[in-house]
């Protein structure tokens, strides 16, 4: 048999039917659902008298819209958000799917809840009506975002009509230097390939630096595969993965566990398998990075200066001019001279326990800059509980951070947590698009440690100066 990539193996194990032109019907093992992209899909089922084919493989949790303040169960939600959350409540009940309501301690961002509860397992196909479904690729699961019509298709048939993507390998060799994190890796890769560099591909991340990452770090890396244009990101499962999965509520147990493990251990790219595109970065070369513009590809090491539109070519010249105007930046200024007024730590990119530990390590015993608005939003109720137990919540609160309840929060300005016009935020989320965090709000994407450093100094800061 010819050697296969990890992607080839998972794909082949899920093809229900293949047409002559390569169009496949692909079986979906897990379907995650949230309140924003699902109402129209359930409505579609109802209108055509269809039911959910595999409710036991479908998991719903509200996250995008929910406020993250303590009063959210007492009517702290606005009318339109409430309608969407209630629609999800009703749909979950009516169609009999697994559900974590806002009142449940396990509620949180869908991409954090799935792995945490053991719904996400190696070798699976996982979809969700959300582009950051790529996150689950960290387990060696083929996971990608879908639109609402496809949500309806999966609900009704437990399959998707798909054509296979091409294989791309992103290798990070060697080790990271102190102060450099998974977030810096993933941003550096996008900086190198551009936001369309992965279009048409599924990326497999590999190399020593990736192997050395925890599951949290691997999820951060895969989370942003979509920002590089790829359909999905994958990391081959290994002992770190198995260790993380073992004992989770929905992970296999006993003999099932042994059987699963035997298969999972075959999930790696065979020697000599073909990749259509290969990108290699040296772990030692990656520095703490920040974004300066309004596309995740606008990445530079923190030691750099703001570029000029003329530094680019083609359509990017105008795009850079527009970005700089939007961001209120002047070419040539040092990135470390950019003053910020808001810090957001959270999101499905960086809202896990390890992220909070990394930020707390920088903040311990210190106070944030006067006038700074800083918030930490744990990715799930369980992350929040663990952080409280570990004493991290106290470190954040004593430093001057707001300690919130779980949700997407300021990652996307669909709930009350938003930037006001002209406010400038160091954010651990994944998108710096115009208006992403609020109308005319300005976003600089950074790692949790870099966000903490910025909160202390009031400007974008090289975290290596503080460790």
């Amino acid at each position: 048999m010819s050697p296969k990539t990890l992607y080839d193996k998972i794909w082949d194990a899920h093809v229900v039917q293949q047409d002559d032109d390569g169009t496949c019907l692909l079986y979906i093992d897990r379907h995650l659902v949230h309140e924003v992209t699902s109402p129209q899909a359930f409505e579609g089922l109802r209108m055509s008298g269809r039911k959910v084919r595999a409710p036991e493989k479908t998991i719903a949790v509200p996250d995008h819209n929910v406020p993250t303040t303590a009063d959210r169960l007492q009517g702290g939600m606005n009318e339109e958000s409430r309608i969407q959350v209630e629609a999800l409540d009703r749909n979950a009940r009516e169609f009999g799917i697994h559900y974590y309501p806002v009142s449940d301690v396990r509620q949180g961002i869908v991409h954090i809840v799935g792995p945490e509860q053991g719904w996400t397992l190696p070798g699976m196909t996982v979809v969700c009506g959300d582009s950051h479904t790529a996150t689950h690729g960290a387990f060696g699961a083929l996971a990608h975002g879908i639109g609402t019509s496809e949500v309806e298709h999966v609900l009704a048939t437990q399959t998707l009509i798909q054509k296979k993507s091409k294989n791309m390998k992103v290798e990070i060799t060697g080790q990271l230097r102190p102060g450099v994190t998974a977030k810096d890796i993933t941003l550096a890769v996008i900086g190198a390939t551009g936001t369309a560099g992965g279009t048409g591909y599924v990326i497999e991340y590999c190399g020593e630096a990736i192997r050395s990452l925890s599951m949290e770090g691997r999820m951060t890396v895969c989370n942003m595969a979509i920002e590089g244009g790829a359909r999905a990101g994958l990391i081959a499962p290994d002992e770190t993965t198995f260790e993380y999965v073992k004992g989770r509520p929905h992970a296999p147990k006993g003999a099932q566990w042994e059987a699963a493990l035997t298969w999972w251990k075959t999930l790696y790219t065979d020697e000599g398998a073909h990749f259509d595109k290969v990108v290699t970065l040296k772990g030692e070369d990656i520095q703490p990075v920040v974004t300066w513009g309004t596309s995740p590809e606008d990445v530079l090491p923190i030691s750099a200066t703001v570029p000029a539109p003329e530094d680019f070519t083609g359509g990017k010249v105008d795009a850079a001019r527009r970005s700089l105007e939007y961001m209120g930046l002047t070419p040539g200024m040092k990135l470390t001279d950019i003053e910020i007024d808001t810090v957001f730590i959270g999101s499905c990119t960086n809202g896990r326990i390890e992220d909070l530990r990394a930020a707390a390590a920088i903040l311990k015993g210190k106070k944030i800059k006067d006038g700074m608005r800083a918030m930490v939003v744990p990715g799930s109720g369980l992350v929040r509980a663990q952080a409280e137990e570990e004493g991290l919540a106290d470190i954040f609160k004593e430093a001057g951070f707001e300690w919130r309840l779980a949700g997407c929060s300021m990652c996307l300005a669909m709930n009350p947590d938003q930037l006001a016009e002209g406010e400038r935020c160091a954010s651990t989320s994944n998108r710096n698009f115009e208006g992403r965090q609020g109308y005319k709000g300005r976003t600089h994407l950074v790692s949790p440690a870099m966000a903490a450093a910025a909160a202390l100094t009031g400007r974008l800061t090289d975290v290596r100066e503080l460790i």
């Binding site: 629609a87 879908i146 609402t148 019509s149 936001t195 298969w263 698009f433």
Partner: protein, 201 residues
């Protein structure tokens, strides 16, 4: 779903690269539980000022482009989120085809599910079409899906590629859930076999 066969209409030029789904429909408008009615907020932050007044020099506010049915756009159109509200908003406004050098993957798929035809062409050809679109309302472009051809207002013809299955669905207005449900037996047997091979799922 509405059929897409042949369209002759006004094309609006949007040369910006990386137009993302947040620009197409800002998320404050995603709190609907319906598919319709998003057209008025298409490109909202570029189209209106904070008070809700139209920004005169935004392309779709110009008199000659208000009825546009085709967009000619810069590279990597539709990047960002998976939300189908972006094609819903385009469709609700009246856009039926988008032409660019490249599209984000999920957005590209979502278009087909909503009767919108996304067309990928090489940069030189997109440039010619962009110039044609800049001529305004008299410059009607024709998109012929059956023959996979675009004809500019002055008669230049460009061929384009489209996936055969997607073309078939679009031409006939087919709902692919219905098509897949017809393959129920194949799904049943896959499930039975997967339950043997991977019983823990």
């Amino acid at each position: 779903m509405e059929k897409f066969e042949k369209l002759t209409g006004i094309a609006a030029p949007m040369p910006l690269v990386n137009i993302d789904t947040d620009m197409i429909i800002p998320k404050v408008f995603l709190k609907t539980i319906k598919r319709s009615g998003l057209g008025v907020n298409l490109f909202d932050e570029m189209r209106y000022d904070r008070e809700g007044n139209e920004i005169a020099d935004f392309v779709l506010n110009k008199p000659q482009y208000r009825e546009a049915e085709i967009l000619v756009a810069g590279d990597n159109f539709g990047c960002g989120s998976s939300r189908e509200h972006a094609p819903w908003a385009l469709k609700d406004f009246g856009i039926k085809a988008v032409i660019s050098t490249s599209f984000a993957d999920i957005f590209f798929n979502n278009c087909f599910k909503n009767g919108i035809l996304p067309i990928v062409l090489p940069a030189e050809q997109v440039e010619v079409l962009m110039k044609d679109a800049e001529k305004g309302a008299n410059a009607r472009m024709t998109v012929d899906l059956e023959n996979q051809e675009i004809t500019t207002s002055d008669g230049q013809v460009f061929a384009f590629e489209v996936d055969a299955f997607k073309k078939h669905c679009l031409l006939n207005g087919l709902d692919d859930i219905g098509l897949t449900l017809e393959k129920g037996a194949a799904i049943d047997s896959f499930e039975a076999q997967a339950a043997q091979a991977r019983p823990w799922i």
